[in-house]
């Protein structure tokens, strides 16, 4: 069993609309599996079911060997899921350092202790510092999260996800809203992370997808219509059909 994440026959209906139509996919070790598709293809719905915020109507989700279909978000996180949000979702009043430290603390445990000093837990702050070092956010570390730029918040999302030492990452549009330079930096960063941590990447930025993905699946109207390497996807007529009118997006 090498799949870190496996989805079988996932179905989600909203009223009469099939938002997720029998989706099956896997994420294997060492892999960057990109999920692309036009707007409204059901990518967000799918991601929300994978991380546990939305319950599917049919189908199953496995994290490693565990059936996670009915597990809550925190339970899935404990099994090794790490995620970033498309619209950044952080602790806005806390500093960047505290945002990361809380994720480190979550991994370290003992969070029901009411008689210790969280500032005295040296290993938490050391791990946090290690993550901040060389991240480009080090000199911003003691600002509250609502005071930093959008690009920095995107970076912080990633650091917070990494702080939990996840077995795999669900990245929901990590490039969204980034400028060209910031995007390039993010790609470099993700390439480095991908050496050790497999990722399921939902992304609109095709440059990033082709730079990062080892496998690409295309989601259209809730269905996966194609899955393969970058070249196979480029050449796939069904994919070209789906992106018709937005052809320039593909290359």
């Amino acid at each position: 069993m090498t799949d870190v994440l496996r989805v079988e026959g996932l179905v989600k209906r909203f009223g009469g609309l099939l938002a997720t139509d029998h989706v099956s996919l896997t994420l294997r070790a060492k892999e960057v599996h990109a999920l692309i598709g036009p707007n409204g293809a059901g990518k967000s719905t799918l991601i929300n079911q994978l991380c546990g915020e939305l319950a599917p109507d049919e189908g199953r989700v496995f994290i490693g060997p565990h059936d996670a279909t009915h597990l809550s978000v925190p339970a899935r996180v404990t099994l090794g899921l790490g995620r970033t949000f498309q619209v950044t979702s952080l602790l806005d009043d806390a500093t960047l350092r505290e945002n990361i430290a809380l994720a480190v603390q979550s991994r370290a445990g003992h969070s029901f202790r009411i008689w210790d000093r969280v500032l005295g837990r040296a290993s938490i702050w050391a791990d946090t510092q290690a993550l901040l070092q060389g991240s480009g956010l080090e000199d911003r570390a003691d600002l509250p999260a609502h005071d930093i730029s959008h690009g920095e918040r995107k970076q912080l999302e990633l650091l917070v996800a990494l702080a939990r030492k996840p077995k795999f990452l669900l990245l929901d549009e990590p490039m969204a809203g980034l400028g060209h330079v910031e995007s390039q930096e993010m790609i470099t960063r993700l390439q480095a992370i991908a050496q050790t941590t497999p990722m399921l990447l939902v992304e609109h930025d095709m440059d990033a997808v082709f730079a990062l993905a080892t496998r690409i699946s295309v989601l259209v109207y809730g269905q996966i219509i194609a899955s393969g390497s970058a070249d196979e996807i480029r050449a796939n007529p069904a994919v070209r059909e789906a992106y018709l009118g937005a052809e320039d997006e593909l290359c």
């Binding site: 806005d92 009043d93 979550s106 008689w115 000093r117 969280v118 500032l119």
Partner: protein, 322 residues
């Protein structure tokens, strides 16, 4: 610098009995005792409301439970008949206070477990409704005085102190308040405190890094209920009675007013808030029987017009940020 301010504040609280004596206003000592007790209750509410973001509108229920625990234990001590034929009564503060804290915690566990299944507006109304349910329960509790409540003829005993002496009782309350606030300081700055502050800001984020919101919020709710139970137990000792009025929903409202007057989520805010509220009440009530009108207007102005309550003002004028 900070330590100096604390020391000065604590020194002032130590000196209160002498000050009230020397200006010939012994009634002010009673006011000071009530302020300390309400400060404990308001701080326990602030713990879930200010730090945890849970707007509980039924906090007076636990205050009342604490008071009734002391009252019921005293009644069974007087009659020498065990409660349910099992639990002997007591008039020892070292027993009644922990008992009140535990019973209040138990009720908070039950009410919290149900209420925290919801959120937002529903949570506010449900905590309010549960508190009101307990209110009616005690109103109908004929063995313990129904709506008149229980008279506690003598304040609980502690180390052979003369608890009838108002000054002694004040110092007992002050000592317990000090212990309470030191404990609260530890909890707020603990690993759990860090998680709780995160829950207020963004539950979705907390879930995404692996914290299950329900459990942490419930634990906080229980701790807060215990704090209110302690305050209620002290109040029962101080007033020498326990009545359903202590858990009337307007009492819950008053606790919230104290929290917002002092500054939501500020550690010492509830002390200032309780002081401001009770001094205002005493002053306005002496001035006119229509004092709730003035209180309402002041509250409206504070809520609509300011941020951070009294502590916020101090911070702004003191020039130190939050």
């Amino acid at each position: 610098m900070r330590l100096l301010v604390f020391a000065l504040g604590f020194g002032f609280l130590l000196a209160v009995p002498f000050l009230t004596q020397s200006i010939g206003q012994p009634a002010l000592l009673t006011l000071a005792s009530r302020i300390l007790i309400y400060a404990i209750a308001a701080a326990s509410l602030n713990f879930i409301l200010g730090y945890g973001g849970m707007v509980s509108f039924g906090h007076a229920a636990f205050f009342g439970i604490g008071a009734y625990t002391v009252g019921i234990l005293f009644a069974h001590h007087s009659s020498a008949e065990p409660l349910f034929g099992l639990i002997p009564g007591s008039n020892q503060m070292l027993i009644t206070l922990p008992a009140a804290v535990l019973v209040a915690g138990l009720f908070a566990g039950l009410i919290g477990a149900l209420s925290l299944r919801t959120g937002g507006v529903q949570f506010i109304m449900i905590t309010l409704a549960f508190a009101q349910m307990l209110f009616f329960f005690f109103v109908s509790l004929t063995p313990y005085g129904a709506e008149d409540g229980i008279i506690i003829r003598r304040t609980n005993e502690l180390f052979g102190l003369n608890m009838r002496d108002k000054t002694v009782l004040y110092y007992v309350i002050l000592a317990i308040a000090l212990v309470f606030f030191l404990a609260l300081w530890r909890v707020v700055n603990s690993s759990f405190g860090a998680v709780l502050k995160g829950m207020r800001q963004n539950e979705r984020r907390m879930a995404a890094i692996g914290f299950a919101p329900y459990r942490y919020k419930l634990f906080a709710f229980v701790l807060a209920g215990m704090g209110a139970g302690l305050a209620g137990a002290l109040m029962a000792n101080f007033l020498r009675f326990a009545s359903p009025d202590m858990m009337h929903w307007t009492k819950s409202g008053e606790l919230m007013i104290m929290v917002i007057l002092g500054g939501v989520g500020s550690f010492f805010g509830p002390i200032f808030g309780a002081a401001a509220f009770l001094i205002l009440e005493t002053f306005l009530a002496g001035w006119s029987e229509h004092w709730p009108l003035a209180l309402g207007l002041i509250l409206l102005v504070v809520v609509m017009g300011t941020k951070g309550g009294i502590s916020g003002l101090f911070d702004r004028f003191g020039g130190r940020g939050k």
